[in-house]
Structure formats: structure tokens, C-alpha cells
Amino acid sequence: MQTLQKTKIKASYAKSEGARGLQTVHFLKKHTNRGVIFLKSFVKLAMLATAVTVLGACGNSNSSNESDKTLTILVEGGSPAEKVAKETAAEFKEKSGYEIKIDSVPYSGVYDKLKAEIDAKKATHDAAIIDVLWFPALAKGLSPVSDVITQEQLDDFLPQLDDSATIDGELLGLPTWTNSKILLYRKDLFEDETNKEAFAAKYGYDLTVPKTWQEYKDAAEFFTKDGMYGTSVFGQTGGDAVSSWLDLAAQAGANPLIIDDNNKVLVDEKPYVESLEYLQSLIKDKSVPEDYLSIASTETAELFNSGKLAMQIAWGHFYLTSEEALPGKVGAAPALSGSAGIGAVPGPWYQVILKDSEKKDVAEEYLAFMYDKNEMYMDTLGIAGRKSVFEKYTNNEAYAHIDAISATLDGPQTQNRPKISEWTQIENEVLSPMLQRVLAGEDAQKELNAAKVEIENIMNN
């Protein structure tokens, strides 16, 4: 009986608990359904917001919004291009009503950004200042500029400058500055009487500023003493070292450089062998720092400015910083003369307009404006792109490098690198590693023969 009562009580209790449980479930279901409906709406709203944001961002991606009065320029960060662009921006705005927006990136970033824009056919910049090396690869995305300036202004280009920027008969850039490697040397060491006597005694001729390969080699050997090296050899990975070697190849008679107009590869010929063997001899003499495989322009300039080098073959504009570091002690002379005469590979930079820019007319106005301001690059960098500016600074002691650059640019063997789109690949994948192997001791002719095959493969691909 008691068991039955207990069971009934339990059953009743269970029933009420069950009812409460059901009530809880109904409550939860009701509010969960509401929650789910709320979440559904929220998700739909979130998706809509995302879609609107993405589409809106896509629509505003480039500088070609006609309602904004800005012109976007791409320059190398920290370069004279950036400095002069900033200094002239206010004046251009006053003249044209357009604000100059300057985008500055590291050297390789300029090429990378422009390449990406041109390949995507979508310009986020209207104009840029580029290295001459990049013309073949970027040409398809650049706008011709021969109508931007007058014939008189075109005639004011320094030697080689119109040729460097002309691709398929079209002039694609206006020069900002040109440059070449020249010889910078320690005037005080060369003029020292003790050095003069010792040199004459050892080498049998007077110590003078080197003009020939032999004079340079002897001077480098002579000045390697007392914690100083005579000079340096560029062996760092990249184009700077390759162009340094090509200067010597040109001086030894190479013309054209590496590839001719019929795409015949010339790299295994005598001038290239001779120039490599000459560099090997400087290393063998121990006249250069031992870490030549990590040295190029910047490192050489640092060594020279810290008094560790007696001479440097450097880009002309380095004269100003060297003279600042060693006041009154730095001299400048033209590039060396090999068996074929003075020769060098010029390194100009150009102002260009992007074909896909929607403000091409304003960009053209900007280019013409900046061409008139070309002298500002002389103040900032010590070099310019116009003959008239160079002539103004000739015989100026503070710009002693100008005469040396002019003489080098006028040299019989001074010439540009091949204007082919494969040049960057040939330079980085073939010539740079090959140069490094030869400098490290490999046989020059053997390496050049192998390089010829590699270049031919690249050209045929």
C-alpha cells in the first residue's frame, strides 16, 4: 500500500517535473527560434554590408577619379627625385591647380609597382621616375613624350639620353639626370711627394692620376698599405657589379654589349675575357678588400669616405658626399681608357607617363614643368639631364665631377646596355653569378662560354 502510494507520489512528481521540463523546452524553442530568426537577419545584413564594402573599395581603387585634382607620382624613396618632387609641388599646384601626391618606395619597389600596374592595365600612378634599365620591360605601359617638349629642348639632351629612352622609335621618357662611373681618388695621396718618389722608384714612371688599366693597377697595388686598399672591385649580386664589369668590357673594345642587333650573343669574345681577367688580377694583387663579393657602389663609397680606399670607380654623383666626408682631398677623373678608349655604361633616370593614367594631359604638363626644373637635380645630386645645365657647372671646383662625367659620356666606347626585355633576367640569372664565379677564381673563358649558352636559351624561350 505504502509502496503504491510512494509510486503514485513519484509518478505525480515525475509528471509535474515532466510538465515543467516540457514548459522549459517550449520556452527554449520559442526563444531559440527567435534567436535563430535574429541571427538569420543579422547574417543577411552582414553579407550585404560586406558586399557593399568590397564593391565600394573596388570602385575607388585608382587615382583616375575625375573629381579629384591630384597627380600621383612614383619615386625612389630618399632619392633626389623625391626631394625635387617635394620642393616643386607647391609651385606646380599654383600653376595648374593640381596637387602632387608623391609615393616613395625603395629602388626595386619602383619597378615592382609599375610592372604590376602595367601588367594589370590599371594605373594607380600617373607618372614616375625610373631607371633606364627598366624601359624594355615597362615600355608597353608607357606613353610617348616627344610632343611634351620643344625640339630645342629635345636637342638639349646629353649624349646617349634620347637613344636610351627610345623603344620602337618612340621616346618614352624625359631625362631627369644622367650619370656614369668615373674615377674618384685621394688627391692628397697622389700629390704627396714621398708617395711620388716611392712610386717612381718602384714602377719606373711618375705617379699621376690613372688613365689606363696598367696605371690604375699599379696605383692600386702601390696604395695598398697601412690599413688602406688601393681600390675596390664590385662583386655584389645584382646589376651594379655587372655594369661595372661592362664598363671595362666596353673599354676593351666590346661594342655592342653582350648581344648585337641580330640577337647574336657576343659574351664569349676577347673584350669580355680581358676585362674579367683584369679584375681577377686586381684581386690577385690583394689591392682590393677581400669581401668583394658583397661590395658594390654603396659599400665602396663608405670605404672610400672612411679613408680605407685610395681610389674608387664610382657613379659620378658620389663625388659630392665624398668631398663632404674628406674636404679638399677628393679628385675626379674620367673613366679609364682601355685598348679601345674611354668607355662606360651610362645610368640615366627618366620621368615617364603611364599609358593607363586618366590624367595624361596633366602628367605631360608636369613633365614639361619638371624638365624646366632640371637644374634642381644638379643642386641636390650633382648631376642633371640637360646639356645646358652641365655646361653651366663645368669648370666649377665644387662640381669637379661634372667635367669627368662629360668626358666619359663623350668617350668613344660609352654605350648603353641592350634594350631587350630579357635584359634583367640575363643580368641577374646569368651575368651576375658568372661574374661572381670568375672573381672567386674560375676560368673566365670557360665561364663566358657557358654564359653564352644560357643567354641563348633565355633569348630562344
Binding site: M47, K115, E290, D291, P433
Partner: protein, 288 residues
């Protein structure tokens, strides 16, 4: 009773699905298509089959970069694991000044890889760098030109490994520290009572108990090390003579410098396949 039905679940998944489609699947599919194509001058693609893959495997520079990547990963991750483990064990013990020491050890993590690369480039310069200057001062080398860290093709890869180890050991240290702090004190007490030495405690207690953390850290670091670009580019740009060029640098040059989209895509696909295989192997080990 289902409170959330299948349709609702799909709605929840939709934003993530759109994101994955746009930023993961679409680029991956484009990469695969590009790897079997050649891009012509006008931007159009021409199907070339396996030609790009054959070219990649026949390229001496690609194979050299592949080999360099394996060596780099093996050395860098190996050293980081050993050092990270050692430092984490040291830092589990509380002593005076350990907080300051831990903060100091974590400081490389705050530095961007490209900045670290530039710092090490200057430190390893034999003309101006502090490393060789100190080694000469302590009589370990004869002159600052005795070791050409960035100019000797035989040791440049080791130089970039050193920079990477300095930069990333704190990450491994942090991971292991978290794992070690999860080990019960009772295990140590029992080990002490049984007369275990410090070395035995490391190999019999610490390492077995942090195995999941160890494998997770290893897989993250292997993938990260294989993808290294900034440090290499800042220090050597892959030279001299491609001696420090990793796959990431090589693929970058192929695509960005030489615009060989097909070949660089094929190389990237090979690279991704290798990394996915490694990830799957490690995942199996973690699950076991």
C-alpha cells in the same frame, strides 16, 4: 531535437565561404591554371601542359634553391627548437631578474624580418661589422677578413640562418614555455623522489609531455622558415652565386622581375605541394 537546421548552418558558413572563395580558392585555381600555361605578350594564356614543371625540374637554379631551402629549414628550425627548449626550461624557474631576462629574450619578436636582415647585414660586414671586430678582440680570428660572412658562398647560407635563429627562437621559447607550464608539479615531485637527474627530467618528463606543442611549433616554423624572403633579400639577395637563394626568392624573381608567370606558378605549385605533404605528415603524428 535540432534547434539549428542545415539551412541555418549554411547561412552561418556563408561569409567565411565567400572569404575563402575570393582570397583562397580563386587565387589557388588561377595559380594551377597558370602553371599549365604560358602567358603571351598580349596577356592571353596558351596551354602548355607539363612544360613548365619539366622546365622547373630541369633548371639548375631552381634545384639549387630547393636544396638551399631544405638545408635552411633543417638548420634554422633545428637550432631554434633546441635553443627555444633550453631557454624555456631556464625561464620556468623563477629567480631574481627572470622577468626582465624573459622580456629581453622576447625582444627580437618585435622586430620586422627586413629590419633584422639589415641589422645583421651590417653586423656581419667584415669592414664595419661588430661580429668580426669582437671575434678579433677575443683572439678567435686573426683579422676581420678571416670570416667573410656575406661574401663567401660556402657560408652565406649559414649567415642568414644565424639571423633567422636570432629572430625566431623567442617564438619557439614562448610555445614551449606554455607547454611546460601545463605539466603537473606532481610529476616533477615523483621524479625527484625516484632520484631522477635534471637531464632525465627533461627527456623523460618535459619533452614527452609537451609533444603536441612541440609538433605544432615545428610545423608552424617549418612552413615559416621555408617561406623566408625578407631576411634573405635584405642580407644577400640570394647571392653570392645563388648560394643563399631560397625558393621564395627564386619564385619572386621569376614572377616579378622576369614576368615568367607560367614557370613561377609551376614552381610555386611544387613548393605548396611539398609544404602540404609535410603538414599532413605532422598532423598524422599529432593525431597519433
Amino acid at each position: 531535437m535540432n534547434t539549428i537546421n542545415r539551412k541555418t548552418m549554411l547561412y552561418f558558413f556563408l561569409p567565411a565561404a565567400i572569404f575563402m572563395l575570393v582570397f583562397l580558392l580563386y587565387p589557388l585555381i588561377t595559380l594551377i591554371i597558370d602553371s599549365f600555361s604560358m602567358t603571351l605578350g598580349d596577356g592571353s594564356r596558351e596551354f602548355v601542359g607539363l612544360s613548365n614543371y619539366i622546365k622547373a625540374f630541369s633548371s639548375a637554379t631552381f634545384l639549387k634553391a630547393f636544396k638551399n631551402t631544405i638545408i635552411y629549414v633543417f638548420l634554422a628550425v633545428g637550432l631554434e627548437t633546441v635553443l627555444g627548449l633550453f631557454l624555456s626550461i631556464v625561464l620556468t624557474h623563477k629567480y631574481k631578474g627572470f622577468t626582465a631576462l624573459r622580456t629581453l629574450m622576447l625582444s627580437p619578436l618585435m622586430i620586422a624580418p627586413i629590419v633584422a636582415g639589415l641589422i645583421w647585414k651590417f653586423m656581419l660586414s667584415n669592414q664595419f661589422g661588430i661580429i668580426n671586430a669582437l671575434l678579433v678582440k677575443f683572439g678567435l680570428i686573426e683579422s676581420t677578413s678571416s670570416i667573410l660572412w656575406l661574401a663567401n658562398p660556402n657560408i652565406t647560407l649559414i649567415s642568414v640562418v644565424i639571423a633567422d635563429v636570432w629572430l625566431t627562437t623567442p617564438f619557439m621559447m614562448l610555445m614551449f614555455l606554455a607547454g611546460i607550464q601545463g605539466i603537473s608539479d606532481g610529476l616533477y615531485e615523483a621524479a625527484v623522489m625516484e632520484g631522477a637527474s635534471k637531464i632525465q627530467m627533461i627527456f623523460r618528463i618535459i619533452i614527452p609531455n609537451i609533444k603536441p606543442v612541440l609538433f605544432s611549433a615545428l610545423i608552424v616554423r617549418i612552413i615559416d622558415a621555408a617561406r623566408s624572403f625578407d631576411i634573405i633579400w635584405a642580407m644577400t639577395q640570394g647571392g653570392p652565386n645563388n648560394s643563399s637563394e631560397l625558393l621564395s626568392v627564386h619564385i619572386y624573381k621569376m614572377l616579378q622581375r622576369y614576368s615568367d608567370i607560367g614557370l613561377s606558378s609551376a614552381m610555386a605549385m611544387i613548393f605548396i605541394s611539398v609544404l602540404i605533404s609535410i603538414t599532413l605528415i605532422f598532423r598524422k603524428k599529432i593525431n597519433n
